[in-house]
Symmetry: D2
Amino acid sequence: MEPWRTAIVNKDETHIWLRGYDITQLMSRASFASVLFLLHKNRLPTDGEERLFNALLIASADHGSGAPSCATARLAASGNRESLSAAVAAGILAIGDVHGGAGALTMDVIRVISEDAKAGGGINAAAARYVERAKASGQRVPGFGHRVHTTDPRVAVLFAMAKDAGVAGTGIDAVVALDAALKAAKTEIPINIDGALAAILFDLGFPASAGKLIFIAGRVAGLTAEVAEEHEREKPMRIRIPIEYDGEPPREF
Amino acid sequence: MEPWRTAIVNKDETHIWLRGYDITQLMSRASFASVLFLLHKNRLPTDGEERLFNALLIASADHGSGAPSCATARLAASGNRESLSAAVAAGILAIGDVHGGAGALTMDVIRVISEDAKAGGGINAAAARYVERAKASGQRVPGFGHRVHTTDPRVAVLFAMAKDAGVAGTGIDAVVALDAALKAAKTEIPINIDGALAAILFDLGFPASAGKLIFIAGRVAGLTAEVAEEHEREKPMRIRIPIEYDGEPPREF
Amino acid sequence: MEPWRTAIVNKDETHIWLRGYDITQLMSRASFASVLFLLHKNRLPTDGEERLFNALLIASADHGSGAPSCATARLAASGNRESLSAAVAAGILAIGDVHGGAGALTMDVIRVISEDAKAGGGINAAAARYVERAKASGQRVPGFGHRVHTTDPRVAVLFAMAKDAGVAGTGIDAVVALDAALKAAKTEIPINIDGALAAILFDLGFPASAGKLIFIAGRVAGLTAEVAEEHEREKPMRIRIPIEYDGEPPREF
Amino acid sequence: MEPWRTAIVNKDETHIWLRGYDITQLMSRASFASVLFLLHKNRLPTDGEERLFNALLIASADHGSGAPSCATARLAASGNRESLSAAVAAGILAIGDVHGGAGALTMDVIRVISEDAKAGGGINAAAARYVERAKASGQRVPGFGHRVHTTDPRVAVLFAMAKDAGVAGTGIDAVVALDAALKAAKTEIPINIDGALAAILFDLGFPASAGKLIFIAGRVAGLTAEVAEEHEREKPMRIRIPIEYDGEPPREF
């Protein structure tokens, strides 16, 4: 069997290195968010990037027990009290294309728009063309729209922090241009957290997969707390879903 | 259906509060580790607690692709390229009583020892009694022993930071006392990361379940990076485990 | 690296054997339930055992979308449309000590009672002593009680089939004795499906872990169908859980 | 909260119906494979369909501990001994586009070919055109090729049983035509189990998603047995993957 190659951790009897840094030095002097950044990017963040990355993880940490991820984790805990890992993992499994997954799609859209912009007319024209095509084919623009918020309060904070950190670039430009193009097309749907995350991760040089992976790393903070609360406050099997059966009436075998 | 109660997140159209704090203020001024602490403890950490909690999460972040959690995540990614969530969740499912789960057990042991110490003779005598009982019944002392390290370099750093932060208390005292009692009983097995985590989480006032949940929150940093690396560098289905069949020979139906 | 030992599957370029049987012969002549039995027991079932094992799997297959396992699978599918595996796995993660897990506990109780019976007085006296101890310590008797059914219609059918198959033994005797002892103690809670499964799996010579594993193998039939229905009939993100927040009011950072 | 609609299970205090059939009648007279068919198709299978469906589930049941699904389940069990569900779920999470997922893709290809065949020239010409396009764009044909077998022994048995059952139709025709077209194009890669499953599930009228879901239902038989064997025979943490680190050398913070 081939050894598994890895560039992430090296260790011997007395040392552990993460991406070449001695873990005890990281423990003494770095933040957890910086180390997550390091593991993905192979370098430590600048101070501005670190603040921004912290903000982005906090923005993803929790959005309430009703979000599919947290609700799934609590439901799993309701039937399975013997494994905390199982409940947290179940919560992560609810994260996909629809919930927490629009970030990866939005990063693809940013890439399409930024390449189209190079072809001519700038980012605003490219965004307008994208919105036009999406409307014509009846497709939703990923990174926009929310079930609860008309304006998501996290978005403006993230974009301002990105500017302060000198990180804001094509990603934010493209999402802001999409927002303007949607408004011009009389479609008032706000930038959502997936869209904001995608813009910033793009500008930080992360690949599209990070749209999902970094959201997961942030959301696990909330999932662990929601599962802990479910165990502490609630009885097993407390959750009763109202079901309406509309299938076959009783029939003969 | 009864509404689900929660004390963690509240929101309306324009605000999101985590444990009563406006999420935009947390994003601007707090670290991700502080917010994880807040979600679990209902208060923000002091500066010393925050440094310590960061160190503890970094210590848990990754220990190489061969640890069961990371190997499981990579194996799942090897067969299933279409879902990043699935691979990360698979990695979490390898965390249990044996891997990453000794923290919860150790916190129970700390509780036993600290209560026994109150009965008389102090923490060292109580730890010696515990080790004696464990040896007599052939049981392992949780939080001690490691496959790779003879001395885990993370332990001393964590204990020193806990002292600096004014956090060190019964948890660390009990684990240090156990270490001395094991040495006195001629059993040279070092404190491992689970034991150190347990000591500190105990001193920070976390319940035993946090021994597993906080380890998971830290390890997800490594899992997301290991899965990203597997996708970027390796081909699907690359992993071939050597199997030795020792069951029934061919037989008639 | 040591090769992994396994007694389950052997294969070469042109043959696959399961527990020594040529898979093509099993495919031509055996039922799926028989092969599941074979993989766990290393022998094919008798005709009576096969009928009984089929019945037991059918009894576990589905109990509606509101059971924690199916509800968890549907919730995961609600947020994550891109991975069918993720939704099915999430459903399995809701199976534990509380939901679908009482079988393993009940098998342990059967073992305790059957050993106590050998000590004297027979199975009925042993069951009565067990119920007395459980009542005295305020513990529930596993395998008894249900949220919906006052009499679970599956139980009598399973026990009758076990008798017909010549399988009924200590397992069913112990559970029936527990039922009588509970009634004598004025506790009218019916044998549930976990209890019936445990009795029969005990009499078929399965270990306690099978109480959970065989339930999972059966329930996956329902989980796959529930997930397919969720994808076909329902929109993503359709599930909205009513939340009641009772935590900290807004507070200053 | 809106009630969840479902057509699968209905129950009251004394009855449980699956798709309109009394579960006690199904338990007494049907096979588990028939009930899985019923849950997905809303009707019981004919005798021929039942035999075929059993064969298809048996063919999926297990292919050895080295397949990603089983290896992932065993690795998870290696670190996490406290949750059987977690290990089985981890195994399912390794099933995706690459492992066990080609069935869904192949069903899409069958649909494309069968529609192209209607346009003119019959199924063989359509399959040849498909292979030509795939070769031109460097894409693999899903449902063909295997790591171990040059001829997968399960395929011929399944196709023969499908013919005997009167089920063989466009699905098998399309896959056989693809096989011939690949051979004509000098590409000797055999039909694999995913391809055979897809052909038969297509001819049984299942949607593409069943390519994955029915494979999962079958594979869970093997996963539960592999996890049981891991618990019974092996020590925790036994699995050590050889890692070769090729990343950053030690560097200064």
